[in-house]
């Protein structure tokens, strides 16, 4: 079964080709058959491959499928080859299954749109690229997928291209991630130059043999790869593109900007974990980036008024948790949180899509309210996702994955109490903004009438994802709650377990109890402010300093403002100054001479026959003279 691996990216790619070439001419009903069907086939193939991987594990718990040699030049010989191990299997399973549910949802959500086939073509190309990224056996193939998903992200953010601001958001996403990609490219050059290969497994082996722990080269390489990961995963300081990326269609936000693509950075670091474990400084940087991002984005999320922007900042914050986990060496906890996050965040975005569609494309949460009775299915599924996001104890997936990260942050040798405090503060913020969203949208009085109810194709994925957001966490529970380790054990086939330090003054149950307490505080405060005493919320934001702070957080800590002044304006200024440098004179001179010649020659074309005859005669005489006398 394992040799079917190549089909996983091949199905969506084939469907992309069909939709891109024939999409306009095929009947409208056929479009989702290709679009969603290909992803369904991919999911089936992934399940078959996964089943065979589990029942009869290949030697070394990894399987490489070499398809053909991609490039062969001067000792540089990357293959088109796919590599399957526990890490890539889990990632591909989540991508294809969640991807299929989102495609299924899109069949109805995008049903009225004129770019129906174009949408599915882009989405399929995205899934193909994402699977290439995850399965690539060498960093170059991974980078191909990495850029592929970037292009699809750009195309889908700017999907409704008639609005100029959507195009602007698309370009911003592309350019900001490009900054990270440049760092990553430099990292690849460095790794190839020093270690002579780009095949990930050989690379890790070579790094371990050649580089001592803590030497400069692995730190530099690790930081450059971190740069790429930070750009793609919208972490500090390159997180500014993700909230604007919400300009795209909501299924896009669910698939690309919440569940899959933005976690590519997490995958990259987990995939090259050997490099980071011999570069402790780079790994510490990963943890610090994660911790800082999860706090800053949490504060920004509290102040947003657009439902999708709240979720976008929440995504940034949750990926911060994954980075924190990677930074303290809790590799499997990061992937666990990736999985549960993919379930509940995709669910939340799909739920937001249902709400937005039902309310005449209203996205402002202050104009919503009271939808609990009107749309019970949407409410309960959304609530399941939100509870999972905030980490409602005992019954939700988010509680287990986030609890594991927080506990590992405390207990790992690479963790520290400062990072742990940041992670716990993150829980408070998450709980605050999540329940603020729930209370404003579903409780209180109704402000906008529901005009359209979603059908089966839109609600089915929500229900499935809601179930997964609840039960998805039971594959890995703490010691005092069943002590199940099936997920961690499976991940440890590919990723090393954390190294625990001698514990002082804290137990796992204590940590979980504290997280629960903090969660309840957040829930209580938002209940007080957004249900019981709305006047209190207004009283808090009334003073000038509170208003300024609100504004500061609302604009994401003024990051856009800062970048506008530090980077964008100077570059625009230089471009304007440099517009007429002397090199341009050469090119504009050539253009000028050509134009003058044109004007001169144009005079001879006057329509007078006798002038033409004279021209012919003069020309003949001149040529004859030249031939005869010279």
């Amino acid at each position: 079964m394992l040799h079917l691996l190549w089909l996983i990216p091949a199905f969506p790619l084939a469907s992309f080709v069909v939709l891109a070439t024939l999409g306009k001419r095929m009947p409208r009903k056929m479009v989702p058959v290709f679009g969603a069907g290909s992803i369904g086939l991919s999911a089936v193939v992934t399940s078959l491959v996964g089943f065979s991987f589990l029942t009869s594990p290949p030697p070394g718990n990894s399987f490489t499928q070499v398809l053909w040699t991609w490039i062969d030049v001067g000792g540089f010989r990357p293959d088109i080859a796919f590599y399957l191990d526990a890490l890539s299997l889990v990632m591909v399973l989540v991508v294809t299954f969640v991807g299929f549910l989102i495609h299924f949802y899109s069949a109805e959500y995008m049903g009225e749109d004129e770019g129906y086939s174009r949408f599915f073509a882009y989405m399929n190309l995205f899934v193909a690229s994402m699977c290439t990224l995850l399965l690539g056996a060498n960093l170059l193939l991974l980078f191909l997928g990495w850029e592929g998903v970037g292009v699809c992200s750009y195309l889908l953010i700017g999907f409704w291209y008639r609005k100029p601001e959507n195009g602007l958001a698309a370009r911003k996403a592309f350019i900001v991630t490009r900054v990270g990609d440049t760092a990553m490219t430099l990292g690849l050059f460095l790794l190839f130059d020093k270690l002579g290969t780009l095949n990930i497994q050989d690379l890790m082996h070579q790094a371990l043999v050649q580089w001592p722990v803590g030497s400069t080269l692995p730190v530099v390489a690790g930081l450059l790869l971190l740069g790429g990961a930070v750009g793609k995963s919208a972490q500090l300081p390159l997180q500014t593109w993700l909230p604007d990326a919400m300009a795209g269609p909501t299924p896009t936000s669910a698939l690309i900007h919440a569940a899959t693509m933005v976690t590519a950075g997490v995958y990259l670091i987990a995939r090259t974990h050997v490099l980071f474990s011999i570069a402790p400084q780079a790994q510490l940087a990963v943890a610090i980036v994660g911790a800082a991002t999860l706090i800053l984005a949490g504060f920004s999320a509290i102040t947003q008024s657009d439902i999708k922007r709240v979720l976008a900042y929440s995504t940034v914050s949750q990926i911060g948790y994954m980075f924190l986990a990677l930074g303290v060496g809790a590799w499997s906890a990061a992937i666990f949180h990736f999985m549960t996050h993919a379930f509940f965040k995709a669910l939340l975005f799909l739920g937001a899509g249902v709400i937005i569609e039902s309310l005449h494309h209203e996205q402002d949460i202050f104009k919503m309210g009271g939808l609990r009775k009107e749309m019970p299915v949407a409410f309960w599924t959304f609530l399941a996702g939100a509870c999972s996001l905030a980490g409602l104890p005992l019954i939700t997936a988010g509680f287990y994955s986030k609890g594991l990260i927080i506990w590992d942050t405390w207990s790992s040798t690479r963790g520290s109490s400062v990072l742990w405090v940041a992670a716990v503060l993150g829980v408070l913020l998450t709980s605050l903004y999540t329940f603020r969203l729930i209370f404003l949208v579903f409780f209180g009085e109704m402000k906008t009438k529901v005009h359209k109810r979603p059908g089966f194709a839109m609600m089915m994925p929500c229900v499935v994802l809601a179930v997964l957001s609840v039960v998805g966490g039971f594959v890995d529970t703490p010691e005092f709650l069943g002590n199940i380790h099936s997920f961690s054990d499976f991940m440890h086939l590919a990723l090393p377990p954390i190294t625990e330090r001698p514990l002082r003054g804290m137990t796992e149950i204590g940590s979980e109890a504290l997280v629960t307490l903090v969660f309840l505080i957040g829930l209580g405060v938002s209940y007080l402010l957004f249900i019981k005493r709305r006047d209190l919320a207004e009283a808090i934001t009334a003073p000038a300093i509170a208003k300024a702070l609100h504004r500061f957080w609302y604009t994401d800590w003024g990051m856009d403002w800062l970048y506008e002044r530090v980077f964008v304006r100077p570059i625009v200024w230089i471009a304007r100054v440099d517009k007429s440098d002397f090199i341009d004179y050469i090119y504009s001179g050539i253009a000028l001479i050509t134009e003058l010649l044109y004007h001169g020659v144009r005079r001879t074309e006057n329509g007078r026959m006798r002038w033409y005859a004279a021209g012919i005669a003069a020309g003949s005489i001149i040529f004859l003279t030249i031939v005869l006398f010279l």
């Binding site: 074309e605 329509g607 007078r608 026959m609 006798r610 005859a613 004279a614």
Partner: protein, 102 residues
């Protein structure tokens, strides 16, 4: 038969050709331009005949027959065009018919 020296024949042909060319360039009436063209063609034909006589070859006279045929064809097309021009513009002035400029 006393033969004409070649240089005299060629000189005559050259003079005729120049006259035709000058006529073509200075006359504005299309019919006169066609006539000048005929003179140039015949001058060229005369040069061929003179050259053929000089080397005792029949080729010069054969080419003259070709030129004659071509001139007949050219005149038939040319006169048809002249008729059309006159119908449309009510004039035979070639400079007035200069609409086909670039």
């Amino acid at each position: 038969m006393a033969s004409v020296p070649m240089h005299q024949g060629l000189l005559l042909a050259g003079i005729l050709f120049s006259l035709g060319l000058v006529g073509l360039l200075v006359r504005r009436n299309v019919i006169f331009m066609l006539m000048s063209l005929e003179i140039m063609l015949n001058a060229a034909g005369l040069a061929f005949v003179v050259a053929g006589a000089r080397w005792g070859q029949a080729d010069g006279q054969i080419v003259f027959l070709f030129i004659l045929t071509m001139a007949a064809a050219e005149v038939s097309v040319g006169l048809a065009l002249v008729l059309q021009i006159y119908r449309r513009f009510k004039t035979l002035d070639s400079d007035a018919v200069s609409e086909m400029r670039g």
